[in-house]
């Protein structure tokens, strides 16, 4: 019994009129009897996170300041890899292509996903209409690249269909001209992802309370006005998530480009993730590859933070 009295200060109900600073200090002083074992049991998880997440990032950052070919020991070269990186014209092309992917991935799959969701939600057979858009998501990125590669190669399936129908563009070199090939690949990637975005937007639509919609309807709002003034503002949180995920996914675009063009011809369709891969695993220039990896991580992190901050602060003031 005396033990439970001894810990009485820690179980004081919230909202009591005691001084908060004093209570906080008391909490710090008073340890629960299971605190150390609890910390010990969390140790494996903490170690695993440190080992698998923090350590590789720290190691990659260190390697980015060295000259290292995967053999022997890294040699410290300071900012040399970063200087080489920004002065390389291929890197600048990759930055440009990656930006195209970001813009394309936000406009096409997000806009189309929203359109499909809005047009089919609440309609008869809406689920059935949405289902075909979801099927490509079950296919891996590599398989999508292979399929579209066969369709879009010069004189491929698309070319043959156009030729059969006597339509122009039968001999267009879809994957051999830049930046056309990047636009085409963004289209192929959108084909895969648009169904999932539509599904997420449908979930958003389902979560909108009926009352404001009915109130707006009584006020005479329909169609575009209803969507713009009532539906869209209430889907903002979900849209933030969908766009945020799209930004991050597009910044690290790799598989579909690697399969369809390998970044070519002449490195014209390379993205930053591809440049990083080539420097590291094709050229065995681990230092240069690590510098691009760090750059890409910083850009992805910064883009996510800036975007989310803007959205959240906008929401707070609205």
């Amino acid at each position: 019994m005396s033990g439970s009295l001894g810990t009485a200060t820690t179980v004081r109900p919230p909202g009591s009129d005691s001084d908060l600073g004093e209570r906080s200090a008391a909490q710090q002083r008073t340890k629960t009897p299971y605190e150390w074992p609890a910390r010990a049991f969390s140790l494996p998880a903490v170690l695993l996170v440190a080992l698998l997440l923090y350590l590789p990032f720290v190691w990659t950052t260190y390697i980015s300041f060295t000259d290292y070919n995967g053999l022997g020991s890294p040699v410290w070269v300071g900012l040399s890899n970063y200087r080489d990186m920004v002065s390389d014209s291929v890197f600048l092309t990759a930055v440009g292509n990656t930006l195209l992917w970001v813009v394309g991935s936000i406009t096409l799959p997000v806009a189309l996903g929203l359109l499909i969701a809005v047009l089919t939600y609440g309609r008869r057979f809406g689920t059935l209409i949405r289902l075909p858009f979801l099927i490509p998501y079950a296919v891996s990125g590599v398989a999508v690249g292979v399929i579209w590669g066969f369709v879009l190669q010069t004189q491929g399936a698309l070319g043959q269909v156009l030729e059969f129908l006597n339509l122009p563009g039968a001999s267009t070199r879809w994957l051999l001209e830049g930046p056309l090939n990047t636009f085409i690949m963004i289209g192929a990637a959108s084909w895969q992802i648009v169904g999932v975005n539509a599904l997420l937007f449908v979930i958003g639509l389902q979560s909108i309370p009926r009352e404001p919609v009915e109130a707006a309807r009584l006020d005479g709002a329909t169609g575009w006005t209803m969507f713009r003034c009532i539906v869209w503002p209430q889907m903002r949180a979900l849209t933030t998530v969908v766009i945020g995920l799209s930004i991050v996914a597009s910044l690290k675009t790799f598989d579909i480009v690697w399969i369809m063009t390998q970044g070519g011809p002449g490195r014209v369709s390379e993205t930053l993730a591809l440049t990083m891969y080539r420097e590291t695993f094709v050229l065995s220039d681990y230092g240069q590859g690590a510098a691009i990896a760090v750059f890409l991580s910083v850009v992805t992190f910064a883009a996510s933070i800036i975007y989310l901050r803007r959205q959240l602060s906008g929401r707070a003031t609205s």
């Binding site: 009897p33 150390w36 074992p37 910390r39 010990a40 049991f41 140790l43 494996p44 170690l47 695993l48 070919n69 995967g70 053999l71 022997g72 590669g149 066969f150 190669q153 010069t154 004189q155 491929g156 070199r173 994957l175 051999l176 001209e177 390998q262 070519g264 011809p265 002449g266 490195r267 014209v268 891969y277 080539r278 590291t280 695993f281 094709v282 050229l283 065995s284 220039d285």
Partner: protein, 419 residues
């Protein structure tokens, strides 16, 4: 009491973690073995490796356990990282040239000079091959195979058009013109990876010295000889002699379907043709590509000799060296060449296919100058720039100078670094 519990909990947690991360120490134990793991980037060749393994088991009591990778870059990264672990590879495929030099400079590969001396003395390997496995005067690794670059042709198309294999470059060009007139694409090309094939064919056939000087940094890609070769290549492209460079169809399928009449490739391509049901002499044939310049004293023959190496600190180094020594011998090479359906570097190997055997005889006895394949001859950064540049060039033929300048810039950077 609390402290004791905490210590016990930490110990238990650490033990769990160690148990999860640790491996069996038996995995890396040394000692005598009757089989060796053979890491390679030729996963599709597993059945052939296993066929040879049966022969080696009978002959020297050592079997092969092939561990194949399909993705070359992933494989190279794996091998590089394996040198930082306790279990260094006993046998592994690698590349000659700069890639091999990288390993040798770090002291990671076992020397094989004595094996080469004996094999050459026994007549089991041509002396010419030795230089590709030499770093600072010593030999490392042994050749997995020697692929000679020849022209494969679709026999049905040749027979239909009444064409026989050419013996001069002018005849080859005449054949290309005739095939084009008949609506058949004469030659295969690609804008990914094997973009160097025609550069290699045209340059070795025009100026073999210049080809070798390029690989050592003594000549420049912007030299008139190289520009002239690129111009010739462009003229052939403009004439429509080549297939669509972006085609996703496998070259063996294209040859089988008659989408192209000819493909210049290493003799290992026989295995690819076999895999799509083509029979040598019945469905396809091979001929030695004539020199572009007929006045050359010798006929250059491009050879690719992929090495099999042993780590200097390999767990079973003694057995691996025994296997490497055996690999040179006629029984090994007979088994290997017949399993793969291709040539062997060993002139004493008994190749069962008559066409392959006669081609082997011709190369071994004829007046050929063996030249290292461009893929191995060029240092990796130069090769990468060239593969990209050539890929762009065949996709959009035009002035070759921008491509050559870009490759030369990569070469300048590389050779400056080498001092």
């Amino acid at each position: 009491m609390k402290m004791r519990h905490s210590v016990a909990a930490v110990a238990a947690a650490s033990a769990m973690l160690l148990a999860a991360c640790g491996g069996s120490s038996d995995d890396t134990a040394g000692g005598s073995v009757d089989s060796l793991k053979f890491y390679n980037d030729k996963a599709a060749w597993k059945p052939q490796f296993e066929e040879v393994s049966k022969v080696s088991q009978d002959e020297i009591g050592l079997a092969l356990e092939p561990v194949g990778y399909s993705e070359a870059n992933q494989y190279a990264a794996f091998i590089r990282s394996s040198f930082r672990t306790k279990e260094k590879p006993d046998l592994f495929t690698w590349h000659t040239g700069k890639e091999l030099e990288d390993l040798v400079r770090q002291g990671l590969v076992a020397e094989t000079t004595s094996l080469w001396d004996k094999a050459i003395a026994d007549g089991d390997v041509p002396e010419d091959l030795r230089e590709y496995f030499t770093v600072d005067g010593k030999q490392y690794c042994v050749p997995l195979q020697a692929g000679y670059w020849v022209m494969f042709y679709n026999k049905r198309i040749f027979d239909q058009e009444g064409i026989t294999p050419p013996s001069t470059w002018a005849q080859l060009e005449a054949i290309a013109e005739r095939l084009k007139g008949a609506g058949v694409t004469p030659f295969h090309q690609t804008n990914v990876l094997f973009t160097f094939s025609w550069f290699q064919t045209l340059l070795t056939g025009s100026d073999p010295e210049l080809y070798e000087a390029l690989s050592t940094g003594e000549a420049k890609y912007t030299d008139p000889g190289v520009v002239s070769v690129m111009d010739k290549w462009r003229a052939m492209l403009d004439k429509g002699y080549f297939s669509d460079p972006g085609s996703k169809t496998d070259p063996q399928v294209m040859l089988k379907n008659g989408d192209v009449a000819m493909i210049n490739m290493g003799t290992w391509f026989n295995g690819n043709l076999k895999s799509v049901g083509m029979e040598i002499d019945k469905d396809y044939g091979m001929f030695v590509i004539p020199n572009v310049d007929p006045s050359l004293a010798t006929r250059p023959m491009v050879v690719e000799a992929g090495p099999v190496c042993t780590a200097a600190d390999a767990t079973h180094r003694e057995e691996a060296e025994r296997y490497s020594a055996w690999w040179f011998t006629p029984p090994a090479q007979t088994a290997w060449a017949n399993a793969r359906g291709e040539l062997s570097f060993n002139p004493r190997a008994e190749v069962s296919d008559e066409t392959l055997a006669s081609l082997s005889d011709e190369i071994n006895k004829g007046d050929y100058r063996l030249m290292n394949r461009y893929f191995e001859a060029a240092p990796v950064p130069v090769l990468t720039a060239a593969l990209d540049g050539f890929g762009a060039f065949v996709t959009k033929p035009g002035d070759p100078m921008p491509v050559l300048k870009e490759v030369q810039a990569a070469a300048d950077a590389y050779w400056a670094e080498q001092g």
